[in-house]
C-alpha cells in the first residue's frame, strides 16, 4: 500500500469535522471519497496534505510517516494535491504554470541564475519539452501561452492537474475536479485521469458529483459528518442504505 490514512481527527471547538478516519490507498489505485456537503471531505484532504494540522492520527506515504511534515515536504515526498477552487498562477501562462512546478530547478537559485546560465538553460530546455508534452496530453495547446487567469474553470483544473504531473507525483489528490466543469470537459478529464492511472499514478479524488466519480474509481469511501460510513466498490457502496440515507437526507435538508 502507498498512502495510509491512520485515524485522522480534527475538531473545531466540540465539533469533530473529521473523526478517526482511516483507510488505505494502494499504489496506483483510483480511489474516491464522497459525501454530502459538510461531510468533512475537504478538511480530510487538507489533513492528508498537511495544509491543516491534525489533532490526532497520522498519514504515511510509501512507508514514511508524514503526519508532522509540512505541505512542502509531503508534496516533495510524491503526494501532490489540487484545490477545489483552482489556484492557478493567474498572471503566468499555462506553460509557465507547468514550468514552475518542475522540481529541483537550479535556475530557482539566484547564484546559478547569474553564474551558471549554461546549466540553467539546459535544464530549462529539458523541462520545457516535458511541459510541452504535458500540454499536448491535456489538450491545452491552444491556450498554452495564454495567462492562466483567463481560462475557464475547467481548463484551470486541467492546469492544476498538469502542474501536479510536472512535479513527478506518484499520488495525485484531486479536490472536486468536476465541480463547475461542463459535461464535455468532465468526460475529457475522466479519460485523462484513467490514462494517467494506467501509467501507474495513483489518484485519490474527492467529489460531490457521484455520477462522474462512480464510473471512474475502483473503490469508494463515503463520509458523513466527519466519519467514514462505508467503503467498497462503487456499485456496492451506493446500494448501501446508510449511504443513501446520508446522501438523500443531506440533499433533502
Amino acid at each position: 500500500m502507498t498512502l495510509a490514512i491512520q485515524g485522522l481527527t480534527k475538531a473545531y471547538g466540540g465539533l469533530h469535522v473529521v473523526n478517526d478516519v482511516r483507510f488505505e490507498v494502494p499504489s496506483g489505485a483510483l480511489v474516491g471519497v464522497i459525501g454530502p456537503n459538510g461531510a468533512g471531505k475537504s478538511t480530510l484532504f487538507s489533513l492528508i496534505t498537511g495544509f491543516l494540522a491534525a489533532d490526532a492520527g497520522d498519514v504515511s506515504f510509501e512507508g514514511r510517516s508524514l503526519g508532522r511534515a509540512s505541505p512542502m515536504e509531503r508534496a516533495r515526498a510524491g503526494m501532490v494535491r489540487t484545490f477545489q477552487v483552482p489556484r492557478e498562477f493567474s498572471h503566468l501562462t499555462v506553460r509557465e504554470n507547468l514550468l514552475a512546478a518542475a522540481p529541483g530547478q537550479s535556475g530557482e537559485r539566484l547564484i546559478d541564475t547569474f553564474f551558471r546560465p549554461g546549466r540553467v538553460k539546459a535544464e530549462e530546455a529539458a523541462i520545457a519539452r516535458e511541459a510541452a508534452e504535458t500540454i499536448d496530453f491535456l489538450r491545452l495547446a491552444k491556450v498554452a501561452d495564454v495567462p492562466a487567469g483567463r481560462l475557464s474553470g475547467g481548463q484551470k483544473k486541467l492546469v492544476e492537474l498538469g502542474r501536479a504531473l510536472m512535479t513527478g507525483a506518484r499520488m495525485i489528490l484531486l479536490d472536486e475536479p468536476f465541480a463547475g466543469v461542463n459535461p464535455v470537459l468532465i468526460e475529457e478529464l475522466s479519460v485523462r485521469i484513467r490514462e494517467l492511472n494506467g501509467r501507474g499514478i495513483g489518484f485519490l479524488i474527492i467529489e460531490h458529483d457521484l455520477a462522474a466519480l462512480n464510473k471512474l474509481v475502483s473503490t469508494l469511501h463515503v463520509m458523513d459528518r466527519g466519519v467514514l460510513i462505508a467503503s467498497g466498490a462503487p456499485a456496492e457502496v451506493l446500494g448501501n442504505p446508510r449511504v443513501r440515507d446520508a446522501y438523500l437526507g443531506g440533499a433533502a435538508a
Binding site: 495544509f51 509540512s70 505541505p71 512542502m72 508534496a75 492557478e88 498562477f89 503566468l92 514552475a100 495567462p147
Partner: protein, 295 residues
C-alpha cells in the same frame, strides 16, 4: 536653473533605485513592504558613520548595501511567513525602530542633530557642476546595473517562481516549494538597493538626520510604483519620474496661486500628490505603464 535640474535628476535617480527595489518586492513577489525607508536609512547612516571615521568611500559604499541586507535577512527570517498585512505592519515597525535608534543612540548617530559634513562624492577630483554630473552618472550606472539584474531575474526560473508566489502562495506550497525562502531572498535584494540609494543620498546631500527617514518616504515610493505600474521595471522608472514631477512641479503652484502662504504650501503640495494618486487609482489603476498583467 541648470543646477536645479541636475539636482532634481539626482534625487529622481535615487527614487528610481528605491522604486526598483520595492517593485521587485511588491510588484514581482507580492511582499507588502511598508518599511522600505528603514533600509534606506541603514545605508545612509552606515556610510556616513564609516566616513566620519575615515573609511574610504569604496569600502563604505558596498558596506552600506551589505548592512541593509544584514538587517533585512533576520527581519525576513522571523516575519516573512506572516500573512501579508501583518508583514506590512512589522516592516513599518522595523523602519520606525531604525529611525528611533538613529534618534536616540547619540554616541553613534549624533541623535536629532544628525551627521553633517559627510564627504561629497568625487570630492578632491571634481567640483561644481562636473561633480553633480558625475554623481548623476554614478546613479545612472547603478540603476542600469539594477535594471539588468532585474531583467535577468524576471526571465529566470527564479523570476517565474516569485511571480507564482505573488499569484498564489498556497499553490506554490502544494507543489513542494517553500515560498519563504524565495521571499527572504527578494527582501534582502530589495534592501540592498535601498541601502545603496541611502549611501548615495547621504554623500550627495552631505547631511543626514533621523527626520529625513520618516515613513512618508516609503509611501512616496509606493505612490511611484503604483502610478508607474506595479510589477513593471519601466513602471518604477516612470513612476519615480511622475512622483518627482508632482513633488517638484507643485513648487511652482505658488506662481498661479499667490494667495497661498509659504507655510500652507507644503501641505498643498502633499495634497496634489494625494490627488494624483486618487485620480490614478480611479482612472488608471494599472499605472501609466500598465501592471504585471502582461509582460
Amino acid at each position: 536653473m541648470d543646477a536645479y535640474l541636475i539636482a532634481i535628476a539626482i534625487i529622481t535617480a535615487i527614487y528610481v533605485l528605491l522604486a526598483l527595489g520595492l517593485n521587485l518586492q511588491y510588484g514581482l513577489t507580492g511582499i507588502v513592504n511598508f518599511g522600505h525607508v528603514g533600509f534606506f536609512c541603514v545605508g545612509a547612516y552606515t556610510t556616513a558613520i564609516l566616513s566620519e571615521h575615515g573609511v574610504p568611500l569604496v569600502v563604505s559604499f558596498p558596506l552600506a548595501a551589505v548592512l541593509a541586507m544584514a538587517f533585512a535577512w533576520p527581519l525576513g527570517l522571523v516575519s516573512i511567513r506572516l500573512r501579508e498585512d501583518y508583514f506590512a505592519i512589522v516592516s513599518l515597525g522595523f523602519s520606525e525602530v531604525v529611525r528611533l535608534v538613529a534618534t536616540s543612540e547619540r554616541w553613534l548617530t549624533n541623535g536629532v542633530q544628525g551627521i553633517a559634513g559627510i564627504p561629497k562624492l568625487f570630492a578632491g577630483w571634481l567640483t561644481g557642476p562636473a561633480q553633480s554630473y558625475a554623481v548623476l552618472g554614478l546613479l545612472v550606472a547603478f540603476n542600469a546595473l539594477a535594471i539588468l539584474a532585474m531583467l535577468r531575474i524576471v526571465r529566470s526560473p527564479f523570476g517565474r517562481m516569485i511571480e507564482a508566489i505573488r499569484d498564489n502562495e498556497e499553490a506554490v506550497k502544494a507543489l513542494g516549494k517553500d515560498p519563504a525562502g524565495f521571499k527572504i531572498q527578494v527582501l534582502v535584494l530589495g534592501a540592498a538597493l535601498a541601502g545603496l540609494a541611502g549611501a548615495v543620498y547621504a554623500h550627495y546631500i552631505g547631511y543626514i538626520s533621523p527626520e529625513q527617514f520618516l515613513p512618508l518616504i516609503t509611501f512616496q515610493i509606493w505612490m511611484a510604483i503604483i502610478m508607474g505600474g506595479v510589477g513593471r521595471i519601466s513602471g518604477a522608472l516612470v513612476g519615480a519620474g511622475i512622483l518627482m514631477l508632482f513633488l517638484e512641479g507643485s513648487r511652482f503652484l505658488r506662481d498661479v496661486m499667490p494667495f497661498i502662504s509659504e507655510v500652507s504650501m507644503a501641505s498643498v503640495r502633499l495634497g496634489v500628490v494625494g490627488l494624483a494618486l486618487i485620480l490614478f487609482t480611479m482612472y488608471r489603476p494599472q499605472g501609466l505603464m500598465g501592471d504585471f498583467t502582461r509582460k
